[in-house]
């Protein structure tokens, strides 16, 4: 329910409302170039393998896509979540980057998670923005450049959220459990 710009999810809100964690040590900065026509998700996962499942943030800073799948949030027709991600929207052809940001984290089992939102313009000038499915998206003719900032002392770990009923990336101090 939306009331005065606030949305009441069906679950019980929990404290703290802002979960945060501090890292004293500097981050590691990487520039990752995805080759032309490569699967973006698979290429990024492979590039990050040497560091293990990593946590960090990043941006797609240059390039284009030849194929894109993305999702937008829609009203749910059933289930406990009032809103869910809709079916994938597929676009092919030259897709010009407008902007995109990525959060890197891991599942509780240690699987690398890529959470990416971005916007692209198709060949006809149509706009496409939402939650990008990187594992179903492919770099364009010029490839794609992604710059990431890897955290040293903090991890984003997928955690069930009883308020929204989504599994969400939550900052955690490495080897210490949940942040405050």
């Amino acid at each position: 329910m939306l009331l005065s710009g606030r949305f009441a999810h069906p679950g019980v809100p929990t404290l703290p409302r802002l979960i945060k964690s501090e890292s004293i040590s500097r981050s590691t900065e990487l520039r990752i170039a995805i080759p032309a026509y490569a699967n973006v998700g698979a290429s990024l996962r492979n590039a990050l393998l040497a560091w293990g499942p990593v946590s960090g943030c990043g941006r797609i800073t240059a390039g284009s896509l030849s194929s894109l799948q993305y999702h937008v949030i829609i009203k749910a027709s059933d289930g406990i979540k009032p809103f869910v991600y809709g079916s994938p929207i597929k676009c092919d052809g030259d897709l010009t980057l407008v902007t995109a940001a990525i959060t890197l984290g891991r599942s509780a089992a240690g699987v690398q998670v890529l959470h990416c939102h971005g916007g692209f313009i198709d060949k006809a000038g149509g706009q496409h923005g939402g939650h990008l499915a990187l594992d179903a998206s492919f770099a364009g003719e010029d490839g794609l450049v992604i710059r990431v900032c890897l955290f040293h002392e903090i991890e984003y770990v997928i955690t069930p959220d009883p308020e929204t009923n989504f599994d969400l990336l939550t900052p955690t101090q490495k080897n210490e459990g949940a942040a405050t």
Binding site: C57, H115, H117, G129
Partner: protein, 131 residues
């Protein structure tokens, strides 16, 4: 008004990483992080998430036009900006791009108090330490 270009050298310092729960405001949350950790200057390194409604500003502060992007479920595609805290009072300018629930794009400056988390917002800010 001066025409001199100002150059400040420095290094990045501490990194603060956060998750904003539903109905927490983007700018208010980032400012509270900086105040709590006594960070005077910070740069937004990354934000991914969704908003109940986006409120974007266009134009100068004094004459800004407001654009409301209706949700819930407005996706944050990118956020850029800085936070400066003077005597415990934060001042923040964040710009970025969002998409509505049809995938249409909107850009502008985020209005403080007008951009509340819908499901989650992941945000990372890094301290800027002038030399």
């Amino acid at each position: 008004m001066t025409n001199d270009v100002s150059i400040e050298s420095g290094v990045y310092g501490r990194l603060i990483v956060a998750r904003m729960k539903p109905n927490e405001d983007l700018i208010e949350s980032i400012e509270s992080m900086c105040v709590q950790y006594e960070i005077k200057h910070a740069v937004v390194r990354g934000v991914v998430g969704s908003l109940t409604t986006a409120t974007l500003l266009h134009g100068d502060e004094s004459t800004a036009q407001e654009q409301v992007v209706t949700g819930p479920g407005v996706e944050i595609l990118n956020v850029f900006g800085e936070v400066n805290v003077v005597d415990g009072m934060p001042s923040t300018r964040l710009s970025g791009v969002v998409a509505d629930t049809t995938g249409h794009l909107y850009a502008g400056r985020f209005k403080k108090g007008g951009n509340r988390s819908f499901i989650t917002i992941e945000a990372s800010v890094q301290e800027w330490l002038p030399s």
